[in-house]
Subunit: 370 residues, 2 copies
Amino acid sequence: MTDALRSDGAAPTLEDVARAAGVSRATVSRVVNGVRNVDPAIQETVRQAVSVTGYRPNRAARSLVTRRTDAVALVVSGTGVEPAAGGGGEAERPGEGDAAGRGGEGSFTARVFADPFFGRVVTGVVDYLRPRGIHPVLMFAEASWARDDVVSYLRQGSADGALIVSTHAEDPLPALVAEAGLPAVLYARPARPARISYVDLAHRDGARLAAEHLLARGCRRIATISGPLDIPAGADRLAGFQETMARHGHPYIPVAEGGFTQESGEAAMERLLAAHPGLDGVFAGNDLMATGACHVLREHGRRVPEDVAVVGFDDSGVAAACRPPLTTVRQPVEDMAAEMARLLLDRLAEPERPATSVIFEPTLVVRASA
Amino acid sequence: MTDALRSDGAAPTLEDVARAAGVSRATVSRVVNGVRNVDPAIQETVRQAVSVTGYRPNRAARSLVTRRTDAVALVVSGTGVEPAAGGGGEAERPGEGDAAGRGGEGSFTARVFADPFFGRVVTGVVDYLRPRGIHPVLMFAEASWARDDVVSYLRQGSADGALIVSTHAEDPLPALVAEAGLPAVLYARPARPARISYVDLAHRDGARLAAEHLLARGCRRIATISGPLDIPAGADRLAGFQETMARHGHPYIPVAEGGFTQESGEAAMERLLAAHPGLDGVFAGNDLMATGACHVLREHGRRVPEDVAVVGFDDSGVAAACRPPLTTVRQPVEDMAAEMARLLLDRLAEPERPATSVIFEPTLVVRASA
DNA sequence: GAGGGGCGGGAGAGCGCTCTCCATGATGGG
DNA sequence: CCCATCATGGAGAGCGCTCTCCCGCCCCTC
């Protein structure tokens, strides 16, 4: 009962079902899409015919007339994973030949997934979209040609809209998409205000939580490992931390800039320790760097949290998994990603709806490291 | 020059470009697709018209006639992430209401991405597909309804084929897809042979490498933390390990079954240590469990590798990141995923091509833990 | 019992593209 | 110089679906 009954091997079409049910194409379409009233008896006949023929509506044909694809692009733009060192970015090229692709070690995509953050975004998005019958198409936009791909893809009508995870402040994609009037929602506030919805985290508040916790714990010689300062999340967390520390009488805080990776956290911790061997508290801009910091501290004979307290940021999987489990500022990534998807779907349903933003509040998750 | 020149706001069509260039639709199509000879002068005129109008071919319309979407489904099927405990699986339901989605903590997708493995698969696939203009659509098939979704999606012609990461032996998806004659390639050998290509790793060889390394290092009281035994990768690695150990005079090896997660690795290590306090070597079925084992060993006062040597499997990101860095058996996931994509594209190009399989050889990566 | 409204089904016009077929003009060989 | 051959552009038929009309019928009301 799953096989097509057509003489040729082709997939059954509406026409075939209509013939089998003895009704018109329009009626079958109405039954399949559950639109308008159709006589229950006929409905039943049609459903029978559908299952007998094994009919599946052809998505391209449907999209052609409805102008809907029920697909959204899930775009990772800019990196936020690599050290800020590079600055310019835009390194990669199209990579056409057979030599390209393969061994992703250093590729943009590899770096993206090295951070548990993106997995969480995907999880949140997929979990929201799936029950609604929308499929995510994965795209990456780390360079100019890739951004053009994304815009083309959207303008071709291959997807109804885009969910863009854009971390770098100078990322041109949000502006490109906004100008083209394409439906999109960002993760993280765009550098320049644009007519585009976004979700974001109150990074400063999160950093405040970390600072207050460290202070309340009795730490007095506190340093911080910041994320890349060209990434708003990195800069904001640092600013929020400094602000709060200053308000509590610590106007100067040693800072080492990291790149949101564990290795960069290790390197930053080394630098901090060399310059300030007596520190007793560290706030890291994310959990990966906090983990690196813990490793280095332990290697230098410091116990965490007894000698040095460490607070991370994100509450990603590694936070609970590492030893000691990390006290960290939780960023509800899955919820934020789901909200991003919700905003996009709302926008798709009502194109005239004005752009909005939703800012999530971080919370402190106290574990063993501080 | 990016804006449409149509009076209405609609996107420019072939027709518009044809009119602008003073040629027929067919000619524009030929130029756009680079098919057949077209007078260079006319070609130029057409290109001008294309850029003036900002024309983008409508993908749905094109797909409708070519029967190609230039999209492939990237499917994660069954889990392989959760403990084997459950057995049956099939837990989740459709989750329709607004309550569903959200806070992915325990969702299938969340568990999938908790393992760095899937990020590597995505990386390999994307890096191969991207330069070829193919887009991956992310899908999950952890339950019956979700598998039907996948099959429907493919039969609707929404994607040209599927790349299926299927870990569980009893996963019905490979068979479903094979029966339906849908183009697909698997990651991991299907439980029942089917007319379907796949890539896999020589798990037993990898386990042999681990065993020999441990033995060569002088370990004599060796235990192993296996992956879930209902997952071929888990069972094969265990079998390969036991085989090699037996061949070297160790017919009995303590085994604790884990679930490929760090926590399960910790629990397994606790059990092993309780039963065999004197052990001096551990082979874990993957890096996550190896990491968990290291933590537990350290908590029990054992130094790694001085007191107990630990070998992992996979060489995922965590292997290099944890302390001590893990000696592990490398599974070239990115290469394997890329190969999977290559096989699918080959099959798409030549539908009659017989199913093939490619088995990759693991290698030992020696770091500090053993 | 007649008229009007509403409900339910059918016909058919596209959606934007590709591709086959045909027409036309140029080319070349006998 | 004529005709077969080739090269190149145009016309038009769909691909499978949705959706707007339109029409017929039933029921309700006066």
